[in-house]
Symmetry: C2
């Protein structure tokens, strides 16, 4: 599981790359509950590139604030690749950010099912060129699953920013 | 400075009181950057009472997503009692939450001035009965100021929920 120092180092790398590329970033978070935004804003000067976050814990907030279509939620469930992508794209528009990473998953200990076990997490990144989405199944406790999701989300942003470099 | 365990204990007390009172909560965060939402969602089962958070780091996001009037920002600045209250009231409506706590401040190390030093922080809580707002001037580093703000915000919610009890 990533340590505090490792998480902070990932956030610093996000900041370094965002500054270099003159790119603004944002997050849309369900299961991580704001942890990714918290880590990004631990970095001094992050207000230069961080626009903000939509922590859309309740499904209705996903719809109202991140513009996730109700039909997408109904068809695929809140923990799905489709909702992760919709959160990222909706938040990108709402926050006015160049790159947004979105996380939706089941942190546990409750909420799992046969189809969607505790630890199942989708992470999507969106920018003006499109989106990527990842599926993970973490095996830690609630706090550990949140941290693993945060590390993966920050890494996905770093990779996306690197792929945009000239 | 509050320890991890002390912060988590405050989040657990928020959860216990919200469950007992059947009250939903949300946060609107600027300088804390999502830390309060992260702490609230460390508690298993918090999805029963936590609606979400607007992490409004950029001023335009405060306007667009938390409905902070541009005139209020222009007249008082983003770090002001007036903006803290506007964030809390705007987010309460946007998130559909019964009680919202909002935090705006200067975490540092940059951004301070003679009038508004690093550490200056306003924390507001709003519910259907009105609002309260507090002013603090913290004296820690960026990470410490965020933690002190988070502890004060959680405490303000606990007090508000206690004051609503029959």
């Amino acid at each position: 599981m990533p340590t505090d120092d490792e998480l902070l180092e990932l956030a610093e790398r996000v900041g370094s790359k965002a500054r270099t590329a003159k790119i603004t970033i944002g997050t849309a978070e369900s299961c991580t509950g704001g942890l990714v935004a918290h880590l990004v804003t631990e970095v001094p000067g992050s207000s230069a590139y961080f626009r903000g976050s939509l922590v859309t814990y309740a499904d209705q907030v996903k719809v109202d604030l991140a513009d996730v279509p109700e039909a997408t939620l109904a068809a695929h469930g809140a923990v799905s690749a489709q909702v992760a992508v919709a959160m990222a794209e909706g938040a990108r528009s709402r926050l006015g950010a160049d790159v947004v990473v979105a996380i939706t998953g089941i942190a546990g200990p409750d909420g799992g099912s046969d189809d969607k076990p505790v630890g199942l997490t989708y992470i999507a990144v969106a920018d003006d060129r499109g989106h990527d989405v990842q599926k993970h199944v973490w095996d830690q406790d609630r706090a550990g699953n949140k941290r693993l999701s945060a590390a993966a989300a920050l890494t996905l942003v770093i990779d996306r920013l690197a792929s945009r470099a000239p």
